[in-house]
């Protein structure tokens, strides 16, 4: 885990950014928040592109700038890699020359990162002689990621690299990005305003809104916090649950996943028994019952205990957080149901989970 310490502020005509925080950067750390919240600005400050930003930036004990912008280390000496939203490949150089531009100037050692390894990892061998302007959006971003990797950075900064791509192209590149930290051993800060990308890629997240840090920590914990639901909650409320494949039921094409003391049944996952993984359960797919229902098609009926009831006035729905064998699970039911079932904190209930999706392999 890498340490990043930022105590900085910058003022623009219509926007201020104020940050004083120590971050743990591990695997992929998502920098998440609504558009205009300051994500890209913060990333640019880390890279050293905002000379007007005052304050401290310290990464792994290296001072990139100190109070009042003193000891400013220029971007080319910070050891960062940067993937821009608009790629910024050099139009006067072929794809191969763009890659070599980075490769030749890199001074770090990293045996994993050779020109050939990177070309292979990002599937670029067919594109090497092409000119950047002739590439599609997805190809352009793959080259940009490869080029940033070839600097052998100590920290890779990615600014919404998939924002301009359609769903199909995204789906092709996401697995490549997902592998970067483990394959090449480089921590990544990944800016996005798409919560699906956070959930898919990141192990930790930083939530930024209005130029301020709103939350920081492991993705699962942050996703559960209801005080920042106005920022995250525009997206589907859900629980992220870690578990381990305990058994496959081949006859019905199902797998069983152990999460704490609870066992969840879900559609077959093509991975070996014992694999750690992360599941995503949408709050609206979880119902509650006071007694164990009989004669029902739902497979996952779990005994649980109410931990917290989050009700807002003048809303149709309430959110109930229940404990299932040590795992927190979120349920979204109507406030009418809360009243009729007389739900209270500490009450034993049964959680009925209608559907579970496999989220990703745990890192």
């Amino acid at each position: 885990m890498s340490k990043l310490e930022i105590d900085t502020s910058i003022e623009f005509d219509d926007f201020n950014l104020n940050i004083d925080q120590k971050f743990s950067i591990e695997g992929i750390t998502a920098l998440f928040g609504p558009s205009g919240g300051g994500k890209s600005t913060l990333l640019r400050i880390i890279a050293g592109f905002e000379r007007d930003a005052r304050g401290r930036v310290v990464f792994e004990g290296q001072h990139w700038q100190d109070g009042n912008g003193a000891n400013f280390v220029p971007p080319h000496r910070r050891g960062i890699g940067y993937v821009f939203q608009n790629a910024r490949l050099f139009p006067h150089l072929s794809v191969l020359k763009n890659l070599q531009y980075a490769d030749r100037r890199s001074q770090n050692m990293n045996e994993q990162i050779t020109l050939n390894n990177v070309i292979e990892a990002l599937d670029l061998s067919a594109l090497l002689q092409r000119q950047p302007l002739s590439l599609s959006g997805g190809e352009t971003q793959r080259v940009a990621i490869a080029r940033a990797l070839l600097t052998r950075p100590n920290l890779l900064l990615m600014d919404e690299p998939l924002a301009a791509l359609d769903f199909k192209r995204k789906a092709r590149i996401l697995p490549l990005i997902e592998k970067l930290p483990s394959t090449f051993g480089i921590p990544v800060i990944y800016v996005t305003h798409a919560i699906e990308e956070v959930v898919r890629l990141a192990s930790r997240m930083i939530v930024l809104d209005g130029g301020k840090i709103v939350a920081e920590g492991p993705v699962g914990e942050i996703m559960e916090r209801h005080d920042i639901q106005s920022i995250i909650g525009r997206f589907e409320a859900a629980s992220l649950i870690s578990g381990k494949i305990s058994r496959h039921i081949e006859a019905y094409h199902l797998s069983e996943v152990e999460c704490g003391d609870a066992v969840l049944t879900m559609p077959y996952i093509d991975m070996g028994v014992g694999t750690d993984l992360r599941l995503r359960i949408r709050a609206r797919d979880v119902s509650l019952a006071l007694t164990r229902p009989e004669g029902i098609s739902i497979q996952n009926i779990l005994s649980a205990k109410v931990l917290e009831i989050i009700e807002e006035q003048e809303a149709a729905f309430a959110e109930i957080i229940v404990d299932v064998g040590g795992t927190r699970l979120r349920a979204r039911i109507t406030r009418k149901s809360v009243a009729e079932l007389k739900l209270e904190t500490g009450m034993p209930v049964f959680a009925l989970v209608k559907s579970i999706s496999f989220d990703r392999r745990a890192l």
């Binding site: 890279a47 080319h76 821009f84 608009n86 910024r88 050099f90 100037r105 950047p132 940033a148 600097t151």
Partner: protein, 225 residues
């Protein structure tokens, strides 16, 4: 038809070449600074470098003559260093031409650098390129057309200058008599045939230069993505 003395023609080419090289060296950093600075005095420098576009050449020439005269600080310093005056010398003409053609170097370059923008430079910096490296390996190739335009325009404009040269250089054969002055002299002395030949040379030359610029512009369409 008799061929007139071509000395003024070669002197003019020499003057334009030297002037253009000096302008490339000092005009490039000025244009770079103007393209990227956020300083408030940018507009002042911009207006100053554009002055020769609107100022009558005689006015520019007059002030330069004053500065170069042995009675001025600069002029007397020059005399004490070299033993000769700056005015009415080839070097004086070079200094005057550098001022006179400055906007033709700076403005196309500034426009070209602005078109390149900060983005490729930030990308280069993120790939470990120092600012000088980024200028040479990224900005210059992307601004290539700007360099061609600026070089050709500065060169051609220096060839065509008349008023400043007349004020600063006078009409000394082999030292300051450039082609435009020679033509003027031939006309004054009603030597129309020589004036015709030299004028035709200048006309053909200028046309070829512009043709070259436009062909280059077609062959190297924007290299900026």
């Amino acid at each position: 038809m008799e061929i007139p003395d071509l000395g003024p023609f070669w002197l003019t080419l020499k003057l334009a070449t030297v002037t253009t090289i000096i302008l490339l060296v000092i005009g490039t950093p000025i244009a770079w600074w103007l393209a990227f600075t956020r300083s408030r005095i940018k507009v002042v420098v911009e207006a100053f470098t554009a002055l020769p576009l609107v100022l009558p050449p005689t006015v520019l020439g007059f002030y330069l003559l004053i500065f170069m005269s042995p009675n001025s600080a600069i002029g007397s310093f020059w005399v004490s260093m070299t033993g000769s005056t700056l005015a009415f010398s080839f070097l004086g003409l070079v200094v005057a031409s550098v001022f006179y053609s400055m906007p033709f170097m700076v403005q196309p370059l500034q426009t070209a650098f602005e078109a390149v923008g900060r983005e490729p430079l930030e990308a280069a910096a993120s790939l470990r390129a120092s600012p000088l490296d980024a200028f040479l390996s990224v900005a210059s190739p992307l601004a290539f057309r700007g360099f061609i335009t600026a070089t050709v325009l500065s060169f051609a404009h220096t060839i065509g200058e008349f008023g400043v040269v007349l004020m600063v250089g006078g009409n000394i054969s082999g030292r300051t008599k450039v082609i435009s002055i020679a033509i003027y002299e031939h006309v004054e002395t009603i030597n129309y045939s020589d004036a015709h030949v030299l004028s035709a040379i200048l006309l053909l030359f200028s046309f070829s230069v512009l043709l070259f610029v436009f062909i280059m512009n077609r062959r190297f369409p924007v290299g900026i993505g």
